[in-house]
């Protein structure tokens, strides 16, 4: 064994620099029976990084429900796969690109989109929709504008060019994200169920093919960067951020799908985090075979790259394919047509080792089983979060009208049109409900009657107050948003963004959030089929203190409509009666009203009653399916009155509201954030409420559609023009546009 000349000697100190603990490095030594080469140390360090090994989260992720009769592939593949009927499958996943997006927002966000697209088309699906879940720092923070600008441009720049519509998403602002924004990107694709491609390599001697872009020195050690906290030198890590090329990605999608229509592929995986290392190790490991790689054959962008650099490069838009040997020329012709690199860079072996050769030397020779089996696994200490103190008596200093105006103009509720309008949401010609038109985006499955309902959801302030309730709420809201369109919720992907797992209180939040998510997923038959964990979302200030983000378990939900023509939106119709579905207790703890009017973020978040959630949702969906509902909007941030204002702003008509529930303070009724509720517009309110009573579902008539604004029970009318002006002011003002 020798390593390239001029490279650093491998020591425990270097291992620590690479992110391995002394104990982990001890395991490396015992697996290898010798001091590893630099390339070998690099392979161990990325494969055992938090990002690739899930060493702090694995034991907890296993507790989530992942099966249902309609689940074809759950976690463990590149993305989750569910049966949507007619022989088709939806393939989807959400993934974070948080750390790179702080360092270089445009490229960080762009390559986040690129990476999640590859996870989906690598399984044989044509990507049909992108969504995202974004968290930014306080609008007052000097960094926020730069980050919002770059992230939005990056998502648009990549998604628009590859021609996959960006149809939905969510955005929050909070000072806890000042130095650590969250960029979670989700892709949904469609494949034939009999044409799904997996990553387990098979067939000793089969060639291993590299396709896509050339390998450069970008992104080396990106995975380990994403597995540690930020410090004041974070911006100096810019060279670890990858650079995306959406044009090449577009060619790669078309070339891969063309190749997938032949029978050439044995296994395929994209080169994501830790690039060539993770793709080759995981493909061979899953297949129980060995793999020999000849790095001299790797297409290279620059001269003089070492084995270490090539194995750890995170250059984008690359795929690794194990191919049937008699089909290599068919495959080569397809990639040449699309003007992409195509190179046979190795073959499968029966050694059970990964062997990396470069310029006549063996640069790495690692047994694959122990690399996977002996990967670190931690059950880190947890500490419970303190119970939120009860809210206590609270007054309304401003009145209903003023509060509504303040709420719909606040950063978390203001119109996102400035953002959506930079994302191509119509390319593909299948977008039935664009951003803002319904609680979930609706995308038709081309050539069928099917529609997909897609949403991303999480309420981080609830999660901080009570991670268990917050975890359940995130799942329940995603489910509710799908139901509100008339679709049948099928499954979720999760993107668990938390602080440092080495802090017991953060680990406590993580475990509690997973417990809450698991309960909700089970109660709603809404299993987790894919996901991603992003830890160490912390920033270290100059004084050395470390600040965690709000716990943010973002949920990406997917549902299906058998007849997409039956999908409904949230826009106020021209006629009808407005009915509230679900019970109201006036929960103001952690509400936006409390934050925007009183400047307080306290109290317990609203309780999630999963039995009521299920009952109310199933009732609403049946009513929509039967054609009785004209419009539907779930009640979430800001409560009933905000929901009504949003319906009015999206539609042509306004509404005239009746007095609130007696025995309850008006602000608690109108702005409380009680869960499991919907506002529906129906033609026949009597029939609707009778059916609800029969189903054991509580309803309350809120008012009538009519007028040009929101007419409050006091008789005062807030015109739609005023609502819209207030609602649309925030983003242009923040971005100075």
């Amino acid at each position: 064994m020798s390593s390239a000349t001029g490279q650093k000697p491998v020591t425990e100190d270097l291992a620590r620099e690479f992110g391995l603990t002394a104990e982990e490095y001890g395991n490396v030594l015992s697996i290898m029976g010798r001091t590893p080469s630099l390339t070998e140390l690099g392979i161990f360090s990325v494969m055992w990084s938090e990002h690739c090994s899930y060493k702090s989260s694995r034991v907890w992720l296993r507790t989530l429900p992942t099966t249902a009769p309609w689940v074809i592939h759950g976690p463990g593949e590149n993305a989750g796969v569910v049966d949507i009927g007619q022989g088709l499958a939806a393939i989807f996943k959400m993934e974070s690109h948080n750390h790179p997006s702080f360092i270089e927002p445009y490229q960080g966000a762009a390559t986040g989109v690129g990476g999640i697209l590859r996870d989906v088309f690598t399984m044989g699906a044509r990507p049909v929709a992108n969504l995202n879940a974004l968290r930014f720092g306080s609008p007052e923070s000097p960094q926020t504008r730069r980050i919002v600008d770059g992230v939005v441009r990056g998502i648009g720049g990549y998604g628009n060019c590859v021609g996959v519509p960006t149809v939905g998403g969510e955005i929050n602002f909070h000072p806890a994200y000042d130095g650590n924004p969250l960029v979670n990107a989700m892709t949904v694709g469609i494949a034939r169920q009999d044409r799904i491609f997996l990553s387990a390599a098979a067939g000793i001697g089969n060639p291993v093919v590299y396709v896509g872009s050339k390998t450069g020195r970008d992104g080396i050690h990106g995975a380990t960067m994403s597995s540690s906290e930020f410090d004041e030198d974070a911006l100096a890590k810019r060279p670890t951020v990858q650079v995306g090329d959406p044009f090449v990605e577009k060619l790669l999608i078309e070339a891969c799908l063309e190749l997938m229509a032949t029978d050439a592929i044995v296994a395929i995986q994209d080169m994501g985090a830790a690039g060539l290392t993770s793709s080759s190790v995981e493909m061979a490991g899953k297949g129980g075979v060995g793999i020999d790689l000849d790095l001299d054959a790797v297409p290279q962008r620059e001269r003089g790259m070492t084995a270490y650099e090539m194995m750890l490069s995170e250059s984008q838009e690359r795929m690794l394919i194990v191919i049937h040997p008699d089909r290599t020329e068919v495959a080569r012709a397809i990639f040449e047509k699309w003007e992409l690199d195509f190179a046979i860079i190795g073959h499968l072996t029966d050694t059970g080792h990964i062997v990396v050769r470069h310029q006549g030397r063996v640069e790495a020779d690692i047994p694959l089983d122990p690399l996977a089996d002996q990967a670190p696994l931690y059950r880190r200490p947890t500490a419970p979060s303190p119970e939120p103190a009860p809210l206590g008596p609270i007054t309304d200093p401003v009145g209903i009208e003023q509060a509504l105006i303040r709420l719909i103009g606040c950063p978390d509720l203001a119109s996102r049109a400035w953002v959506w309008n930079q994302y191509d949401s119509t390319v593909g010609g299948q977008t039935v409900k664009r951003p803002g038109a319904a609680d979930a985006a609706i995308v038709k499955v081309e050539g069928t009657s099917l529609g997909l309902a897609l949403t991303t959801d999480c309420t981080p302030r609830y999660c901080r107050a009570d991670a268990r309730q917050g975890g359940a709420q995130a799942v329940a809201e995603a489910w509710r948003n799908i139901v509100a369109t008339g679709a049948r919720p099928l499954a979720v992907t999760d993107n668990l963004n938390f602080g440092s797992p080495e802090k017991p209180e953060v680990m406590g939040q993580f475990v509690a959030a997973i417990e809450g998510m698991g309960e909700a997923c089970r109660a709603l038959d809404f299993p987790v089929v894919s996901g991603n964990v992003s830890l160490y979302n912390e920033t270290r200030g100059p004084d050395g203190s470390s600040v965690s983000i709000l716990p943010t378990p973002a949920i990406g939900g997917l549902g299906v409509l058998d007849d997409v023509n039956r999908a409904i939106g949230l826009a106020m119709p021209d006629e009808g009666t407005l009915v509230l579905v679900g019970a109201t207790h006036g929960e103001l703890g952690q509400s936006l009203w409390l934050r925007e009017i009183h400047g307080r973020e306290d109290g317990a978040p609203p309780a999630v009653d999963l039995a009521a959630e299920r009952r109310n949702g199933d009732f609403v969906r049946q009513q929509i399916e039967s054609g009785h509902v004209l419009a539907c909007h779930d009640v979430s941030d800001g409560g009933i009155l905000v929901a009504l204002a949003e319906m009015a702003m999206a539609g042509e008509a306004g509404c005239i509201l009746y007095a609130p529930q007696s025995g309850m303070r008006p602000e608690a009724f109108w702005f409380g954030e009680d869960q499991s509720r919907y506002v529906v517009a129906v033609r026949d309110a009597e029939a609707f409420t009778l059916a609800a009573t029969a189903a054991g579902v509580e309803t309350r008539v809120l008012g009538q559609v009519g007028g040009d604004g929101l007419t409050l029970p006091s008789g005062a009318t807030i015109s739609k023009a005023r609502l819209k002006a207030v609602n649309s002011a925030f983003f242009p003002a923040l971005m100075d546009d």
Binding site: C161, V162, D245, L251, T426, G428, G429, T431, E446
Partner: protein, 233 residues
């Protein structure tokens, strides 16, 4: 009507265009790979939207020199009908088949939103199903749609009636200086132009994405229906 859609590397609205053509013609359009050097027998050539060659040089600049382009030029010289939408419009201007150029949007941001287009004349194959002055809705989705040409060219286009569409308010009023109604800042709010023989039309917005009530309307359909009427044989 036999239609062909040209696919460059990076084209991404060829499927949308195929759907629209299928809806009105009932037949599948031919896909033409950029590497071809001859066109099949066609009544209409469509250059669809996307980011040909990544738009890394100037939008449409590389595609204007693709192997298929000489054949498209011959088709145009022989009086063939060509529709270029979005990137297709940019390619037609780069190829010199239509005058002017498309700059970055005035606000320097990508714009994806519905806009309203006023039909400027109704005696062309592209506009015959409308009346001059009609307004229709269409999604726009571009970063570089800010139409510009020198004063003399603009004067000539105006004088010879070669403006096909202008961005307008829903009531048909045109206001060049208003970002709400002329979102990308195009000179004279020009959204689409015609060749001198009225057989080549380039436009930035996407009528092909509004041909189905399910997707929000059929506002874009008359353009394709008009072509079918004019070019049927």
């Amino acid at each position: 009507m036999k239609a062909g859609i040209v696919v460059f590397p990076g084209t991404n609205r060829e499927r949308d265009m195929a759907i629209a053509l299928r809806v009105v013609t009932g037949r599948e359009p031919v896909m033409i790979w950029h590497g071809e050097t001859d066109l099949p027998d066609l009544d209409l050539v469509v250059l669809p939207g996307g980011f040909s060659y990544g738009d890394y040089l100037r939008c449409g600049a590389m595609a204007a020199h693709a192997p298929i382009m000489p054949a498209i030029r011959r088709f145009a010289e022989a009086g063939g009908h060509i529709l270029g939408v979005c990137n297709g419009f940019q390619i037609l201007t780069e190829a010199g088949l239509l005058p002017g150029a498309l700059l970055r949007n005035g606000a320097l941001r990508f714009l994806s939103q519905d806009c309203h287009l006023r039909v400027e004349r109704d005696d062309t194959p592209f506009t015959r199903r409308w009346k001059a002055g009609d307004v229709f809705r269409a999604p726009m989705a571009h970063g570089d749609g800010n139409y510009i040409a020198d004063d003399a060219t603009i004067r000539e286009l105006e004088d010879s009636g070669r403006i096909a569409f202008r961005y307008s308010r829903p009531d048909g009023r045109v206001d060049e200086g208003d970002r709400q109604t002329n979102p990308n800042g195009s000179v004279r709010a020009i959204a689409g132009v015609l060749s001198a023989n009225l057989r080549i039309c380039g436009m930035m917005p996407h009528p092909e994405d509004l041909v189905d009530p399910l997707m929000g309307g059929e506002d874009g359909k008359p353009l394709f229906e008009g072509l079918v009427e004019a070019l049927v044989r």
